[in-house]
Structures are given as C-alpha cells and as structure tokens.
Amino acid sequence: MTAAQGFPILRHRLANGLRIVLQPDSRLPLTAVNLWYHVGSADERPGRTGLAHLFEHMLFQGSLNVGTNDHFRHLQRVGGVANGSTWYDRTNYYETVPSEHLDLALWLESDRMGFLLPALDQHKLDTQRDVVMNERRQRVDNQPYGRPYERLFELLVPPGHPYRWPVIGTMDDIASATLEDVRAFFETWYVPNNAVLTLAGDFDPGAALASVERWFGELAPGPRPQRDSFALAPLDAAVAETVEDSVQLPRVYFAFRIPPFGDPEWFASALLANLLADGKSSPLYRDLVWERQLAQEAACYVYPTAQTGFFIAIATARPGVEPAALADALRGHLDRAARPLPAADHERALHRTLVELWEGLETADRRADQLSMYATLFDRPELAWDEPGRYTAVTAEAMAAVAAERLGADRQVTLTVLPRSAQR
C-alpha cells in the first residue's frame, strides 16, 4: 500500500518567511486551515512552565480587530470547527470551514499573528489562568495515576532537559504567570518566520495563495528564534521508584529513552509497541490479560517528540496480583523482543498501523496537521505521505535491535503506583 499519491501538494514561502503548504482536494466543500508555531513547552524555562499552553488560551481571547469571544463566534457562525493544542515541540491552531469562508479563517489567524498585543489585558489573563488551573485539575490532579505519570518523566528526563516538566505546567507556575511573560512569549515566538500555514481541502490554489498573501504578507518577520535541542542517550543504569495514589489497582510503568521522531529507530520502536500491545491478539493482551490474567489492561506506545523519543509500557494489576509479579511478566515480553518475534505478530502490527494511517488521511484537518508537522520539523511536508513506507521498511531485526539496545532492563525507569495505604 502506498498511501496518498493522489494527494498532490504545493509549497510556497512568503517574503516574511511564513511557509505555506497547499493540498487541494475537492471531495467535500470544506477547507482545513492549520497553523503550526514552532514553540512548545520545551521552549519554557523552569519556574515558567505551562506558559506555552496558557499562551495558547490567550490566543483565543481576541486581537486588535476580533473581540474577546469572537474568534469562536465568527467561526461557529458559519459552521466552522476550531481549536488549538500545545505539545512539547509546537503549538497548533486550526479550523475547518465551509470553503467559501476561507478568507474569514485567514483574517482571524492573521489578526492574532500580527495584532494580538493591543487586545491583551490582565482580566483576560486572570480568567484564563483559572480556566487552565481547572484544566490541569481535570486532566491531571483529579485523574487516577495523573500525578504519578508526571513523576515518571522526572525519573526519565534529567534536570535541565525541557521534556522533564509536563506540557500543562505546574500549578504554581500557572498561577504566577504575568502579562509581561505573555507579551514576551508572543514577541519571541509568534513571528511569521517561525510558523507553517497549511490549507487542505476544496479551494483553488491560485486564489487561496493570493488570499494568504493578502492577509499574512504584510506581517513583519522577527529574529528567527533559537532553540537548543538535544537527544538523550539511554539511561546507563536502571531507576525504580514506588509512589502512592488514590487508586484501587496497582500499576507498573516502564519508560525508556529512544531516538527522536523521524529516525528509523523511532519507526521501529513505534511498530514494536503496536506489535506488543495493539489488539486482543497481541502478545501482551494474550498473555497478561487473557491467559495469566495478571493485568486488567496493558499498553505500549511511543512519544513522537522531536528532540528525543520515549517508549512507555504500562500494565495495571488485577486485584490480588503483586505488582512485582506483573512487572516481571511485562519485563519478560521486552526481553523476548530482543530477538525477532513471530512473523504473524509483525504482519498484524504492520497491517493495523497501515489501516490507522489510512484513517488519518481521510479528513482534511488531519492531513493538514500532518503536513504542518513535517514542514515544521523537517522542512519537507511531503514526508507526510512516506509514513506507510517508513513502517513497511521496518524489519524484524530492526525491532529486535531496538529492544536490545534501547529497552534493556538496565536502561529502564520503573515506576510502581500503589493504592494509598489508607485505602488498601
């Protein structure tokens, strides 16, 4: 299967450095507009964590020509769907609109790229800080295993590396963010030459490019922001810790450092994760959940992070099962993976991955986001269509090599979460 050869793309760069990707496709009368700013929580500093994400909220609070709640109001009025998200390496903003409203979306995005600061005020910041603190409670503090998961990354990532803190930031840092922080963040990172704008869907490329030029062309570039990036070598000794949380069942986390997203070893790791734990016929499910019934659930996945990748394995213990026994069983699967695994498992993992990739290409918004990602991280949007090939190229030996070199017991972070003593 070679995906998406029917999806041609066009590239352009405005004089101010804004990179443009166009992917016309007229099956539905919709256009997805997707803007990646190359800034995320990895560009924060300790004491100011969560700023990139809090800033994302502020970008929905209006700009010079757009009232406080009017970004969503304008878009929803025409049947548009909009949101944004923040990740370690980037912040994205996106909307899908009926195609006749493309200019509306470009007007809104260009107004906040160029003219945000006049609309910022303390009251908006105070409200959004409260919203984000509630978001943090909802996603982390009031979630089972939420705080322990943050601890896992403190064990896995050394002090000084920006993947150590959570994207949403710590509660104290969110509470203490100032208007000055927000202004400085905008001026440093939200410049056209630090962004990629992708359009995917039903539009005329020539007319769309003229519109993009009209709305974004006059925005001034800034100094190209500099960022340090460093990959992490595997741990040289195992780390283990046990914590308590208000949960009913013990859970075991294994975490490892792997190469960054885009590396052939990253694709091998991702396919191995699917091989081990994706589906009811996967080895982890068959053994831990079905046969030995040590686990209520088990999962493996990788982080698509740009500086260095992570491989995580999780198993939640059935009542009465000792976490150590579960950890041994889970470890056994990683040990076995250091030699080539059965072809049937490899075939399942590859086919299921390819089906998932097809599903990902079906909507304009997902295609646009993939194109923005590859344009931002590698300056090559067309790599978005290469993913099926990247996974297909992974050999059984490559997966075994990843398991042997990256996922060994001596390179492992183990975090065991126990129900709080009072509740046992």
Binding site: V81, D103, M133, R352
Partner: protein
Amino acid sequence: MSRVARSSPPPPGPRRPFRFPDFRRERLANGLELVVAAVGAVPLADAVLQLPAGADRNPLERPGLAALTASLIDEGTALRDGPTLSGTIERLGGSLATRADWNGAEVSVEVLARDLATALELAAEVARQPVFPPHELERLRRQALTELLRRRDQPAVLAEEALSSALYPGTPYGALILGDETTMAALSRADVVAFHEGFYRPSGASLVVAGDVEPDAVRTLAERFLGDWSASEAALPIEVRPATRAARQVVVVDRPEAAQTELRLAHPGVPRTHPDRTRLGVLNALLGGKFTSRLNLNLRERHGYTYGVSSRFVDRRGPGPFVVAAAVGNEVAGAATGEILLELDRLRQDAVESEELAETRDYLLGVFPFTLQTHSDLLGRLAELALWGLPDDHFDRALAAVAATTPDDLLTLARRHLDPDHATVVAVGPAATLEPQLSRHGEVRVVRI
C-alpha cells in the same frame, strides 16, 4: 498600520453545495435491515451489526446482563475460540468489537475493503453462534467486577451512577450499564444464554456498511452470512417511567481528597423519537452544545469556574436524561450551580434574540458536512437511521427544521422541556466543602463510598 482592511470579517465567497451521500436501504426476507453507502476515498470499509439487545432490555433484577452478553459473544463461537477470532481479523489489519449501550448491542468491524467478506463472516458468526465458554464468562465477570471497583477512581462514573439511581429508580435506566458488584456477581451462564436467545434476532436488527464497497456485492454477502438467520420477534423493552420529584434535590458523593468537583444537573428528558427532538438540538446547542454556548461563555469565559461545561439531551428509546456537566473548582461548585440554574431560567423566561438564534442555527447547518468527512462518520449517521427507524430523508428534514426554528419555538420548548426547579444536582467531591455551598440549591443528601 495595516494596509489591509481588517476591521470587520471578510464576506464569504460563493456557497458550495453539499448533498447527503447516496446510500441504499433495503430489508432481507428475515427482517434484517441493510444500509450500504459506497464512499471510496480510502480503501477501507466499516460495518456495524446493530441488535435489539441493549441494556434497556435488562430484566429489572439483572442489570449488567446486556453488557456481559455483548462482551462475551466474541470470546468463542461454534467454529472458533476467542483468540482465533481476534487473531484472524487483526492479522488483516482490521478489528472487531462488541458492546452494548442503552439502546442496543452491536458488533462492529473495520477492515481494508478487500477483506470485507471475512469481516462480515466473523461479525455474523459472533452474533449468531456464540457458545459462551464458562471460563470466559468467569474471566469477563472478574474483569467487569474490577471495572466496577475502579469507578471509585473515576468521579465522572460516580456522578453518572448517582444520577441514574436518582432519576430512574426501579427501571433499567436506574443502574450503570455494568450494574453493580452484587448483580454482576450473580449473573449466570443461563441468564446470558437466554438473553442472547431472546434478543440477538434479525428482526429489529440492522447491518450498516460504509466504505470502498460495491452495494450489490455487500447485499450478496449479507444474504450469505445473515440471510438464513431465522426470524422471530424480540420482546419489546419495558417502558421506562422516570421518578417524579416535588422539589430540586442535591446528592453529594463524598470524595474527601478530590482536587475538583464533578458537577451534574439533570432531569428526565424526551425519547429519541419525540417530535420536539430535532428542535431541542437547537435549544441545547445555544444553551450548552457548542463552545460559544451560554453556559460555556458564562462558567468558563466569564467566571473561570471550569475548563468546559456542556449540556445534552441523551438519546434513548425511553425518556433519556437531559444533563448539564462540568468539572469545577471545589470552592465554586455552589456558585457554578447557581449560574447553571440562572441560564436555564433565562431560557424559560425570555425569548432569545434573533441574532443569537441565527448564530446557533447557522452553526448547526454549516457544521453538518464536517460531521460526515469519513466513511466511519457516514456509517454512524446511517446507523442512526436504522436504529431509530427514521426515514431516508431524515437528515434533510432535520436540517430544514433547524433552519425554520424561531425564538418563540425555543421559548415554548424551554418551558416544556427544561425543568430546573425539579432537577437533581449531583456533586462528586469533598462533602465538607460542598455541602454548605449546595444546600441553598436543594435538600442535600450525602453519599459516602
């Protein structure tokens, strides 16, 4: 400073037409409905076999039975054991899943379109010939009991449970889909076999397929795998009559160390087939069904009480609940409840401005194509037609009804279908903090877990 006129939104270009995708709808001789849509953007196909075997058919003393039965049917058939079943479809890159919700049970498959025959063969086998191996029953019972244990970790599930028992005592809707520890422990293999025998039937069932498929070929496959399934009527679910309430009540589920409060305000709503249902969608969108809804602009954007608040009319065959839901700061739960009540009252007192109605109406009309982007999206829409027995042109009619909704309609609907004075408020969080704040909204009952 700008060379471009930015002060007001640019006008739209010419409107591009949208038409609901073509589909074919027919019935096999045994009563099974077949709905097929050929959409070939990607080489995938999804199918769902919907069965009249949902939790609304649970005998009153056996909550959890529909869910346990649905979870068991793919754990062994007359022809294959569970691992062989999942291994067969997953090796093709596909998946097969079974589940029951309030309105039905379903077997759903997703595969490369070239493998549709295998997928439909397995789906039919799972629905028609499960053997319910005793060891699998015991394994899944333990798994369900463990999930029930874990609801203590999940404030949203605790809130749902408290609401269900408050709104629908003595009916199947009064329990969780999984029931509780006592009832789950008591279910027998004979119960499961009888439930399957009674409700996994072609009459009242439907097979819906969407993707890169050929309708005639799908029809042939449906006849081959499901055509000889003998017809007999499944018994109707018992009628659900919600509790009536003289005054608003407050239920606090105590989680002393919770970092946040899961807040709900709810009362019984209308059946899915109620004639007001489509226009209630407009009322609900304006109230709490979109980002710029009254509730979200108030609780989130004005007060910062929550990351997000929403409302909905939950669709069931009987009168499903109308629910407002938000996770709020512990210290502001009382104030947030007050604002929710205020917004419900406002809708019952004053007609909305026509501009606000237009925003909502145009959102619902404009966003419709967006909800049909993938073959799975389309499958979901077609499955609704089959499940609720809606006519082929239902979505066109619904969009027309949305377009014709007036401010007076909304006022009438709000007065008829929103009932804040008799609602149940559920708050899952620290009772010591919550009880004093919530007592002004109704009599408080504290539940300890």
